[in-house]
Amino acid sequence: MIRMTGLTVQFGGVRPLDDLSAELAEPIVGLIGPNGAGKTTLLNVISGFVMPTAGKLEVDGRSYLALAPTKRVRLGLRRMFQTEQVVEDLTIFDNIVAIIDHVGSDDPVAEVGRAVAYLEIASLDRYGAELNLFERRLVELARTIVGRPKLIVMDEPAAGLTESETATFRHHLLGIPATFGAQVLLVDHDVDLIASTCSETLVLDFGRRLAVGPTRAVLADETVRRAYLGALS
């Protein structure tokens, strides 16, 4: 569970996060908002790349703010970036096992095997350079589910995928909490993806909490529709 209390980030005169408080306990939580709402900043705070000016952040009851980013990863935090991060001159196997190297595992090969079997990834000796965008995204997804993950934060992981690829991605995403025991925090502009995967959604606007609650109710909320979805209709 993610608990944030009065989370504030100030960059000079800009305040990307402003007194943000929320408790997010559902297995897959959506995080939406217009551009500049503070979504990526919040992911950066959770990852430890940005230190908040004020506030508290707890994940599974443990205070995160005093922890180095690498320590958070060892505790089970994983991240998928908006731009894909597959290393082109490493094989699929090495790309995945590179995470386990730093979080530890009794049997890294078996862990990789479990992840690639779940995601139906074939030919592990192919190099990153040989993979298309969808395959790269699957390899990145595999990297998030190895090494006993506890919280996976994803920043627009399906951006650039075709409709059928997004459907496959959605299918894999839905099974992660039950199969790997991790909570997922998903940032995406694809409202259909959010609606079909997230049981709870937090909406940000100008760094502040606009709404939080069951996804269906949040997406039907008039304030949310005006601030975010209304622009799409």
Partner: protein
């Protein structure tokens, strides 16, 4: 569906050592069997410099870091190896290891700016350190058997560094140097194929991404600088053993730039790139001398080659040769399947 068996990382790691061992052994056998005394001596330097270049390949090829103090670290390794040899009369292997370890430590210290700097700024800082070494070594000189720690002997009493007992002759020493080079290349390959190599690859791809993968960036960068310095230090010890003594005027900051440039030309991404770089550094000038052409013409050739590498072939000569070999192998495979 998982259609290929999970690779065993151990098996893959050791399989990649086969071409390194075969290639280096073949080159050593050909040179030792056919080279005359002049070329035997030249190749001893080629091997020592190839080790230093393999250290640059670790930093540049694995991490994308431009370090311009490698020739100075070669000098540090040579200085320590000579000092330990003359002062303690230790075995050659101990002298080599001492040179490698001290150069590794200094490599880490000199690499400290890399934790904050990249690209041109790191290059400038490391070049300044190479310049510092040039000044210090010009003033103090290399140990030559003189009294005390910094003492210098006069011409009549100057001593040569003792070579290993099993390799006192020039030909045997070259075989010994090739064996050390092979061990160095294997050390680098084992790093590339295991935890540090994967961590370096993640850092090169994106430091933020590496951090999100749990990589301790400062630790793995320090590790790379230590390995790079170690290889340069071992190379310096081999060079000292090959020549018997070293000349402080030969370790200029400009040479550090040349070593880096030719590692890029030779290829920083394939195991044999550093050997090509070593050949370019020592064998090409010697070849030009053989043909009665001024060896300094090589600098012009190197400049053109660097330009060519940066513009059209960033993987260097070794990378281009590997690509040709891969295409040839694929064509053979297709022909075999058709038959």
């Amino acid at each position: 569906m998982l259609t290929s068996p999970l690779p065993s990382s151990g098996a893959r790691r050791y399989r990649s050592l086969v071409p390194i061992a075969a290639g280096t052994t073949f080159l050593a056998a050909v040179v030792i069997a056919f080279a005359n005394a002049y070329w035997i001596s030249t190749f001893s330097s080629v091997v020592a410099l190839a080790l230093a270049c393999s250290g640059i390949a670790v930093l540049y090829g694995q991490l994308g870091l431009v370090s311009l103090c490698q020739y100075a670290l070669l000098g540090v390794g040579g200085w320590v190896a000579l000092r330990v040899s003359h002062g303690l009369h230790a075995s050659f292997e101990i002298c080599l290891l001492a040179g490698g370890l001290v150069a590794a430590m200094i490599g880490v210290l000199w690499g400290l700016p890399a934790f904050r700097l990249r690209g041109l700024y790191l290059a400038v800082v490391t070049l300044m350190l190479a310049g510092t070494f040039q000044v210090v070594i010009s003033a103090s000189g290399f140990p030559d058997g003189g009294p005390g720690f910094f003492g210098r002997a006069d011409a009549a009493q100057r001593q040569l560094m003792a070579r290993p007992r099993i390799a006192e002759g020039d030909r045997a020493y070259l075989a010994y140097a090739f064996a050390v080079l092979l061990l160095g290349l294997i050390l680098v390959e084992l790093h590339r194929r295991s935890v540090p190599g994967r961590a370096w690859a993640l850092i090169r791809r994106s430091e933020t991404g590496a951090l999100a993968a749990g990589v301790n960036i400062a630790f793995y960068k320090a590790w790379a600088f230590a390995l790079s310095g170690f290889l340069a230090g071992i190379g310096g010890g081999l060079l000292a053993g090959a020549v018997g003594q070293l000349d402080g005027r030969a370790f200029t900051a400009a040479d550090s730039i040349l070593v880096f440039a030719l590692t890029v030309v030779g290829g920083a991404y394939d195991w044999f790139g550093p050997i090509i770089a070593g050949l370019l550094l020592r064998a090409v000038p010697s070849l030009l001398t053989d043909f009665a052409v001024n060896g300094y013409i090589a600098l012009v050739i190197f400049g053109v080659a660097l330009l060519h590498a940066l513009v059209t072939a960033p993987v260097g000569i070794a990378g281009q040769l590997s690509a040709v070999a891969a295409r040839f192998s694929a064509r053979l495979g297709r022909a075999g399947r058709r038959a």
